[in-house]
Every structure is written in structure tokens, then in C-alpha cells.
Homo-oligomer: 434 residues x 2
């Protein structure tokens, strides 16, 4: 028998605020960071998870992972990784810690980091990347991984079973196709608010040359700037490349409607995070008022319960799942199934640090074993910080290539985590010494 | 000039799980706890705040208060406590830490603890208990304390000003009345799930004898138990005392409807937390289906943004604000104004540890300077752990008596925090030695 012997967390931060990469109307100076965790067993196994943050506060997530991690120490590894539905509930629904959320914010993200590390152990045991593990997992086990609490009025276990059964047909062909051709991406690299017009135009043209069919621009600084930047970007990419825009929750309901309608000239494809992601009713109102611009949200959606309501209320056109905002793989299976039930495309949020590496698996799984379609579906790509990962994403010709390494994708290089541990790592010491 | 010199947190826990006080269908074994904070200035001032939790995880809140507290160290005290709207935004909207929520869960509650400590300093400076400070504060300053972000589609600064202006009329008489007669309470003491039938009946009768016009029972363990317990309670209190029931988010939408309708015989006054408090749409559906039983929620409502939607959607009859779930006094002013705008009674959640001491101030303020009515309004009371506070609540004749001591009510006795600091305090050491 194998037992969990340690849960080791690291506060890893990268000084991205120095060059305004990742700047938007709300996140003006992020230092992209990972609250990183290694779960170890007495049989020598290792599983890795992480939670993305914007810098300050990363230490709160590691503290929370330490606290939740204590619930795992000494537990039977087999029991955990062979019953990942139970394992996730044991953390999320801990009778005392539940009060900290329930199922939202720091505590929920911390659970997600640990749950992903358990999935990492499971995937390594089966020698498969997560997307393939999920795609080849028996339907019953997938269903048992989902927590239907507070979503069963929209998605029952029977619904989930039916959706996954339907996804079995042609699955092997789709897995082969994914290995061959990958999955479409879009890029946010050109569009950060902190970039000059010249850089925006140059990077937009490069994106098209690199094969991307869609780019994304941050908006909501000033309407004049947004009109100018959108005009430049539209000119740079031509009429046939989609341009999404992203307000990072900057607006009130009416502001969102007015602002987006002043950008209709440039044919934006979607408006992302027009207002608080907690505001289901405002999203529904905005969606009606900005047609034909689509409404997208999700990187800050705290749980499947909010996603469910966004779908029930007809408040979004695009669901943007995030790999480290919710409680790990289990909750993202629930999110994918909810989207499939409501026939809403999932276009995952990525960027940050590690988010591309982790979230790609869900789109691959969705295509292989749930919806079987890539229509209007793209995974976000930002060309940042991939070099710190054991298996950096590969995006070529505007497409994510299928990950091959066993695991969930969160493992970082020791050299990177050591150098950028905050505040003691050599990278930070050198910056402070300047 | 005075500056903030220290933010000292303590993890204070009481072993309430030993006797099942506070047990319900979800919180089966809480150790009522306070993540306690003392903010000190170089001029010798002290302000106290706390965040209530159920035990494990209390250390995550203290860690978060340490992190946010670092943003206060060295700041100008006057600038903070004379511009409490700006002070609260400086914490809540910190450009990097915002990602941890935004405005929900651990990070939001931690901000609330610190913000309350700043209000505590302000109230002590003016030598007033919080309720009186707020009641006598100029309308413009109250409005400036509110963060209208993501609620302005339901409550504008002008709406807030109008409501508060209207509340000025007759205010001095109402303040005098509050000092004389206090504010009505209801009691949850009889109704914990862990109590025997005998204890339930005895405590229910005592509640009526003590002057309470309403009691509350925890439900959602089993329908047979609930019918028996409600029947016993109804017999004990008679037809004219209200009995509220509380499911602590235990149910799915349809379960809630079916279960509550099986309890209609006993004329329950409200059903509290029938399902996830994040689920606005389910609350709206439940409210329609369980009429005439009213729907109440709030102790786990993460922010004013969720309360706003519950009101917009007609999803609740009763708003239950909580003193330590949201970001402090400022956000509860917003919540009171939202309730007033939607003409919905506020019946605060209390109990736990310190929640009664803190939350009473908001009902007193609401009566004095916002709605001017106590109709269908009651503050929860649980007779637990008050002895640990510098000014324990006084409830006589079923009414909260007006607090007199300057401050927000969070200050605890040194002897209590020392004895029950977890895990090193003598109280915990003695329990462990048993």
C-alpha cells in the first residue's frame, strides 16, 4: 500500500510587471505567479499541481494548500487516485473548512491545485497525458468524478452519462486526428493594454502569419484608445481574422452596452468579461444588447454553480473554462458537460503561467469524448513563460499540438522554481540588488 | 501624524464541537473560531476586527489578514479612517491580490476583518458605538464609504443619497427609542440538529418565556425527523410564535421545494438557505414554489453583487446580512441600502463567535437612519461565547439592548484570546492532555 507522505508548496513568481506583459484595464501590473505544489507518496510517486495568481497573495494560496494538504497526509494513495470524485469531495466539503467558501475563491482554488496533483499521479500511473486519460476513462468513472451538488437541476448523472456515451462514437478516430493535427488556438499576445500601437500592429501581423485565425485585444482603458487600437488591428489582420475584445470586468452593465456598441464598426467577435463574472443577470442583459457581438466569460467564474446559471439564463455565448480557478479536473469535467448540455462552445482561458499547459487537455478531451466538434472552439494562447515547464505547450500553425507527457501538465523545472521562489530565489535577489 | 505600525492576527478557536452546539445538516462539527486582528498605530490607538470561521482553515484567514495587513503598515492613520471608502478599496481592489477573488471567499473576508478594525479606530476616536457613528455620520460620508462597482445598475450614488436623506427625518427620536427599548431578536438556541427532542422542547418553551417572538430550527437531516421536531416545537411555542427553518444549503432546487412543502403543516415562517447561496435562479424558483413560506439567505452570500441579483430576481423575501462574510462595514452599508431600495427586510445572521456583537450595529443603524421600521425585522441571537468579548451583547425581553461601548464590537478579552489561541493556548493544551 502507498500513502501520501508530503505536500510541499512553493511560492513561485515571475517579474512580468517589469515589461507590462499581461497588463489590462484591471490587472495593471501582474507578476505572473504559480502557487505550486508537489504531492509525494512513500512509494516514490510525485504529482504536481499549481494555482495561477497575479503576484501578491500567491502566499495565501500556498498557505491554503498547506492547510488542505494536511488532510491528505497519511491517506491511502490508491484510494485517493482511484476514487477521484470522493477525493475531491473530501477536500472541498470538509465540514469545517467549507465555511471558507463554500466553493469559491482562495479555498476552492487551493483544493483545485491539490486535486490536480492527485490526477497527475493517476495519469502518470497510466502513462497518459490527462486528455488521453480522460478520453479513455470508462464513462461510469468520469461520471463518478463529477460533483452534481447544486447543478443537478441542469445536469443529472443520467444526462452526463448520455452525453459521454454519445461521445464514444468515433472517439478513436478523433484521438488519432488530435495527435495528427492538434486543436485550434487564438492569441492574446498582440493585445495587451500596455503595448504601443506599433507593437500591437507588428504582433497582430505576426499572429496572422503564424496561422492564427483569431486574436484578442484588451479594451476598456479609454474609448478613443480602443477605437484606434481596434481600427489598427482590423487593418493589420484583414476582415477574415476574428478579433475578440476583453474588458476584464471593468464595466457596469450600461457602460458595457454603450462601449461595445461604439466598437461595432470593427466587427469584434466576442466581448469577454464585460462586467463582474458574478453578475449573471447583467451578463444576460448585456448579451441581448450587444448582438451580434458574442459574450464570453469564465476565467474568474468561481464554480460550476455560476457557470450553470450563466447557461440557464442565456447570459453567455462562449464558456471560458480555466484550469486553476475551480476545484481541479473534476469540476472542469462538470463544466464541459454543462456546456455540452447547453450546446455552448468552450474556449478555454489560458496565458498566465502554466494555464496553457493545463487547460489544453480539456479541449482535447472535449473533442475526443464529449462534443466531437471544434466548430467555433479555440484555446487561448499567450507566448509567455512556457520554458519553465517540463512539457511546454507546442503551438504551430495556429494550433496546439497534442501533449504527450504523462500527467496534467503542471510540472515545472526545478531550476525555474528554485530561481523564482519568492522572495528568496536568486532571480528575485538579483532584481532587488539592482 | 499617526501611522499604522502593526497588524497582529490571532487564530482563536473554541471547542464547540464537543457538545454539538452549532450543529446543522452541513456544519456537523464546528469549532466556532475567530480569525482575530488588532491594528495598532504609533499614537497608541488600537482597532479590532475578526472573521468568524468553523475551525479548520481559521489559519488561512489569519494568513490572508497578515498579507493584506502588510498593505496598511506605515500608512497614515488619519487618511485611512477619515476616508474609509478609499481605505476599503485600497485593500479590496489591490491590483495583484484582486485575482484571489475578486471580492469573494477568504480574501474578501480577510479584507473585511481589517476594514472593520479601521472602523473600530474611527468609532473609538469619536467615542461612539458603530451604530451611533453611522447613524450620525453625514450622508455624503456614508455614500462615499460605499463601493458602487457592479451594483450601480440597481443602486446609484443618487439612490443612496435619497434613501439616507429620507432616513434623517425623525432620526433623533429613533435613536432615543433604540437606547430605551433596543431591537427585536429571535433565537436559534433551541434548534440545533444535534439536540435531543427533550432539549428542543425545553429550550423552545424557555425562548417564549424569555420574550422571543420567533425561534429557528435547523432542518434537512431527515424529513421524518424534521416533521417530528417541527411538530414538537410548534406545540411548545403555540401558534403565535414564528418558527423559521434553516437547511444550510443542503438541498437541490427540487428537493428544497418538496421538502419545504412537506413541512407546510407546521406553518414555518421562512426557509433559510434552501440551496447554494450562489444560486440566484434556484432561489427564485424555490421562492415561487414554497409560498407562503418566505425565502431567506445571506450568511454565505459573498458580496453585495450576489445580494443585488437575489433582489433583482425576486429570489428572496428576507436578506440576512452577516458581519464578517463580506468586506466589512462599507459593504454592509451597501447591503442595507440595496435592501431598502428593494423594500426587503434585513434580518441579520448571527451566532458563531462575535457575530451577534458585530452585526447588531447594522440593524440599529438601519432603524435609526435608513428604513425607520422594525416591521418583520429581527436579529438572530444565539447564547454562545459572549463572555469572551469586551462588551457582550445584552438580550433581554427578546430584544437586543443598544451597545454603548465605542467601537465596532469585535474586541475580545485578552484572557480569552490567550487561552483559546490554537493550538498553543492553555485551553487547547488541556483538551489535548485529556
Amino acid at each position: 500500500m502507498s500513502r501520501i507522505t508530503s505536500v510541499r508548496t512553493s511560492d513561485v513568481r515571475f517579474p512580468t510587471s517589469l515589461d507590462l506583459s499581461g497588463s489590462d484595464a484591471v490587472n495593471v501590473d501582474p507578476d505572473y505567479s504559480a502557487a505550486y505544489v508537489e504531492v509525494a507518496t512513500d512509494s516514490g510517486e510525485r504529482g504536481y499541481g499549481l494555482v495561477f495568481t497575479c503576484g501578491r497573495g500567491n502566499e495565501i494560496i500556498t498557505a491554503a494548500m498547506d492547510s488542505y494538504g494536511a488532510l491528505l497526509i497519511g491517506q491511502d494513495t490508491d484510494e485517493l487516485v482511484n476514487n477521484l470524485g470522493d477525493a475531491s469531495k473530501r477536500l472541498i466539503h470538509d465540514s469545517q473548512m467549507r465555511w471558507l467558501g463554500p466553493e469559491k475563491g482562495v479555498s476552492h482554488m487551493a483544493c483545485g491545485g491539490l486535486i490536480n496533483a492527485l490526477w497527475d499521479i493517476r495519469a502518470r500511473r497510466e502513462n497518459k497525458p490527462l486528455w488521453l486519460l480522460l478520453s479513455e476513462m470508462p464513462v461510469e468513472e468520469l461520471v463518478s468524478a463529477v460533483d452534481f451538488t447544486h447543478i443537478s437541476n441542469a445536469l443529472t448523472p443520467q444526462d452526463a452519462t448520455d452525453l459521454l456515451q454519445r461521445g464514444q462514437e468515433g472517439k478513436q478516430d478523433r484521438i488519432a486526428e488530435l495527435r495528427q493535427n492538434g486543436y485550434p488556438a487564438y492569441t492574446t499576445t498582440p493585445g495587451w493594454l500596455g503595448y504601443s500601437d506599433e507593437k500591437l500592429v507588428r504582433l497582430s501581423k505576426e499572429a496572422v502569419a503564424d496561422g492564427f485565425g483569431m486574436i484578442k485585444l484588451k479594451v476598456a482603458g479609454s474609448i478613443a484608445d480602443d477605437r484606434r487600437r481596434l481600427s489598427l488591428a482590423r487593418e493589420a489582420v484583414g476582415p477574415n481574422v476574428r478579433i475578440a475584445i476583453d474588458a476584464n470586468q471593468r464595466w457596469e452593465e450600461q457602460d458595457a452596452i454603450d462601449w461595445v456598441n461604439q466598437l461595432q464598426d470593427f466587427n469584434p467577435y466576442w466581448i469577454e468579461e464585460p462586467t463582474s463574472t458574478d453578475d449573471i443577470l447583467a451578463h444576460a442583459a448585456i448579451r441581448k444588447a450587444v448582438h451580434p457581438v458574442k459574450v464570453a466569460t469564465g476565467e474568474a467564474v468561481q464554480s460550476r454553480i455560476i457557470f450553470k446559471q450563466l447557461l440557464q439564463a442565456g447570459a453567455i455565448d462562449i464558456m471560458q473554462i480555466d484550469s486553476t480557478r475551480v476545484a481541479g479536473v473534476n469540476e472542469n469535467i462538470a463544466n464541459l458537460l454543462l456546456a455540452a448540455k447547453f450546446e455552448t462552445p468552450v474556449c478555454p482561458h489560458a496565458g498566465g503561467v502554466g494555464l496553457c499547459e493545463l487547460v489544453q487537455h480539456f479541449s482535447f478531451f472535449d473533442y475526443a469524448a464529449i462534443t466531437g466538434t471544434m466548430e467555433d472552439r479555440v484555446i487561448e494562447f499567450v507566448d509567455h513563460l512556457h520554458e519553465h515547464f517540463a512539457e511546454p505547450v507546442i503551438v504551430t500553425g495556429g494550433r496546439y499540438q497534442a501533449p504527450k507527457r504523462p500527467g496534467v501538465g503542471a510540472e515545472m523545472l526545478d531550476a525555474s522554481t528554485t530561481r523564482w521562489t519568492f522572495p528568496a530565489g536568486a532571480g528575485w535577489q538579483e532584481l532587488n540588488a539592482r
